[in-house]
């Protein structure tokens, strides 16, 4: 069992009597890269700010390394934050910005010098000491703010959408950079983003936040393959969502109808006859064929083909609903207007009852 470095216990937060965070419990482990993923206003930043101490929770407790820090001042917590807008001190040089945390701790200037240089090297900014923030590009500024946050050797680094102001190419580069830093320094990173690609590609674990609650926590592949709710299924990764109805029940197997057309065998006991359910299938899990398969298959017409260099996305019209299908490479013979059948394996199918949803 890994050591818990941050623990949120029954943590809740209200602003002006409006409950923004609703009694969250979450354990964050040593040396992991965890991402709080959610759309804007879901409360993910509020969680982050309570860990850093910039906001105080309304209810519950926050522990850092087993110590209750709920009422501890941010200045005393061994956590540092990387802000979305970098928040570099405009009138200080890069050197002074990075040295700030150590100076506040009254570390002697000799040591500060070695450690700042170490940091500059770490973020590939050696030679930038004398520059001012306004003379830096967005990527450079973000590296400086990383160096400034990391120089205190915090137990946890909190990152609040740090890459959202950068353009796509730079963002991809910085994602790799962040991952590299985290592995090298073995510091827990708590990363907040609304970008599911970022979350999937960087994290050891993802916590999907919605409406002030944590909907699901798990490794990226587990959350992707086994979303616990319809929201998670559609928010993390692309998904086709079908309306379906549970029709006939045998002992072990139920038959699931997608509209009037097709029947699929389904073997979980959660639903009873007549239940309306949603069936979620990832585009890359749908297979295509020109001939009818036995089960799990729908008939459709190719509406559009989108080739992006590595994959082809087929938009297939199934009774007026557009179903997305992902095919590797350009390895298919379909044209717009072709008739085809879609089918899939039962394991790739996630079913959510309507009553499961809030």
């Amino acid at each position: 069992m890994k050591r818990v470095i941050v623990r949120l216990e029954d943590f809740g937060k209200s602003f002006f009597k409006k409950e923004v965070i609703k009694h969250i419990n979450l354990d964050i482990y040593e040396n992991e890269f965890i991402t709080l993923l959610g759309s804007s206003g879901c409360g993910k930043t509020t969680i982050l700010r309570s860990i850093s101490g910039l906001d105080k929770p309304t209810t519950g407790k926050v522990y850092i390394d087993e110590v209750d820090v709920t009422d501890m001042d941010p200045t005393k917590r061994e956590v540092n934050t990387i802000f979305q807008n970098y928040a570099l001190f405009p009138l200080m040089t890069v050197y002074d910005n990075i040295a700030f945390g150590l100076r506040m701790k009254k570390v002697d200037e000799e040591e500060i010098k070695t450690r700042v240089n170490e940091m500059l090297e770490l973020v590939h900014l050696t030679g930038y000491e004398k520059r001012f923030p306004r003379e830096l590009s967005g990527g450079e500024a973000q590296r400086v703010s990383l160096a400034r946050g990391l120089i205190n050797r915090p137990k946890v680094l909190l990152l609040d959408e740090p890459l959202s102001a950068l353009d796509l190419k730079l963002r991809k580069e910085m994602q790799i950079e962040l991952k590299r830093l985290q592995r090298k320094l073995k510091i827990t990173f708590i990363y907040v983003t609304h970008d599911q690609d970022e979350a999937l590609s960087m994290s050891n674990r993802i916590a999907v936040v919605r409406g002030g609650k944590i909907e699901q926590v798990g490794t990226p592949s587990y959350v992707y393959d086994h979303p616990s709710t319809l929201y998670v299924a559609t928010f993390v990764g692309e998904a086709n969502v079908f309306d379906a109805e549970v029709k006939k029940i045998n002992k072990e197997k139920k038959l699931l109808y997608l509209g009037d057309n097709f029947v699929s065998k389904y073997s979980k006991n959660k639903y009873s006859e007549g239940d309306k359910v949603k069936v979620v299938i990832r585009p890359e899990n749908i297979k295509i064929s020109r001939t009818l398969k036995k089960e799990n298959s729908l008939k459709g017409v190719v509406d559009e083909l989108i080739y992006d260099g590595s994959n082809t996305k087929l938009m297939v019209d199934v009774d007026g609903m557009i179903v997305k299908v992902l095919v590797f490479g350009n390895d298919h013979s379909y044209e717009v207007g072709d008739k085809l059948y879609l089918y899939w394996d039962n394991v790739d199918m996630n079913v959510f009852g309507e009553k499961d949803e809030r």
């Binding site: 001042d73 540092n80 979305q84 928040a87 001190f89 405009p90 506040m104 400034r148 205190n152």
Partner: protein
Amino acid sequence: MKNNKVLDNIWLTLVFIFLFLPIAILIIFSFNKSRLNIMFTGFTLDWYKELFNNSVLLEALINTLIVAVISTVISTVIGTISAYGLKKYDFKGKKLINELLYIPIVIPEIVLGISLLCIYSFMKLELGMFSLILSHIAFSIPFVIINVNSAIESMSANLEEAAADLGASKFKTFFHVVLPSLMPGIVSGAGLAFTLSLDDVVISYFTAGPDSNTLPLQIFSMIKSGVTPDVNALITVLLLMIFTGIFIYMSISLRRIKREGV
């Protein structure tokens, strides 16, 4: 869009002539041989010599500068602290205070002047340098606050949080991070306070005492009895000082405009 440059320039020239004429005329006559400010009859520096023997005038000048410097320093400190405090903290009566702060700016100066006069007499405060400086502080603070406020608005939002996050206490944050960021606003607030103090006639008129005769008050009484040309010389010296200050300020800010390419 095409603009009529000739008309533009004519109007600019006329307005600037209007603005500078009354001052230019005083400067010119400070070098005039004739005692009468009517015709330029010949160049002389006599009035400057006379000025240095005119103790009343010199004392008024010194008083003016003392009042301006002290009231500027105090109102800048209080104004800066207050702007920051009003932004950062919520407390009872803050709304009222925010409204009150606009009063010295918007009401006619004479009302502020006489109301201060009345309250001083009510508090048995004798009119003099202290009451004069206090009054100048009273009308300067709101202007400083407004200037500092706009600097606070343009300060990046997370700076203080970043400082706290990095272990800086509130006082350290204020002195190391907030204050440097607000400097442009503080400087322009102080500049305004200083200017307002030098320019003020109305409030000084009511709140100065016999020992606190300032330049405007001295000139006011002289206009009635007759102005000697050494006043022209004094004004020229004063202007020279002010122009030097402006020139320094301008060359700094113009260089900044150039550098930042605004």
